[in-house]
Amino acid sequence: MAEVLEVFLAFLRFGVLSFGGGMANLPEMARVIIGNGWVTPQAFADGFALGQFVPGPNMLAVLFYGLSAAGFAGALAAALGMFLPGAVGAMWLVVGWRWMARTRWSRALRRALVPISMGLSASMVLVLIQLSVETLFWGLGIWLACWLIYREVGVGLVIAGGAVLGLLMGLL
């Protein structure tokens, strides 16, 4: 039980500090988790890779680290610690924002954040392309998928099409 609490507190700290989605937090996370002996360095990397593999935020990798540290309860504790701070803050913002909207600075902030957020999205896309696209083939695949979705072809269909195409490439 003490172990589970320890896992929860460690991940709560990551959850509070993980501005920008958690990727920036990765080096610190590796240091603490490996340092505590919860995973080996190889398992840390493999766990992170598995996080890329499943749908949802890639920070679902914390389930792996929690499971390795303290079993099923540890996995739940890690996920709670990681996702709760942001989610509670986001839910509080529903209430807080209505109250803050009366002030001029918060209206300016709300307007300014939209283009800033577009710039952050564009930066994220660049990182994703650098990380995951190694061939011209998939570079073209991105534009094809973009064009299809822009022309209102169903998103699920395009994603499934990508999976089938990838499978075919793997078989050839």
């Binding site: 509070v16 679902l60 509670v88 094809l144």
Partner: protein, 190 residues
Amino acid sequence: MPLGKLFFAFIQVGLVAFGGGGNAQLYQAIVRRRGWMGEREFLETTALCRILPGPVFANAAAHIGMRLGGVMGGILALLGVLTPGAILMLLLSFAYLHFGALPGSLAESALNGVAAAAIGLILATMLRQAPSALDSFKAVGLALGVFVTYGLLHWPLLLVLLVTVPLGMGLYWREAEAMPADASLEAGRG
């Protein structure tokens, strides 16, 4: 908004949110397919959720869920987007930790295609959002400034925000006075 309907919508997003495309999936499901939120309202919501810690996608789901269905709606939305991936992650982790199994090369090559499609989805979503998000020269300039410093020059995120957020607030200071309080927030509701 019936909570069952809300949970179902978010769990559908959670099932297909591969490769960092979660927010784009949320946009497709909530704004384009169901019209539960206005375009501008969604943009401001996700932009706000970016300045909170944790994955933007999970934060945005909790925020939107609470707007649509109260506190219970927020919790269900968060559970909806996390549960499918969490179950798969637990199964894969268990297989790895107990049998040393990693997904085979075929699954990995399928994922290559999924990742490319997900990036295409994010790009398409940005194209759709651009007309309303980048509606002035200063908006374009601000977005470009963030992209160059963060995306190309790899400044730390905190530094980028410390520079661009006050700058952006200054640029929008004049308009913030003219904007009627709460108008844009209430417009997309109900």
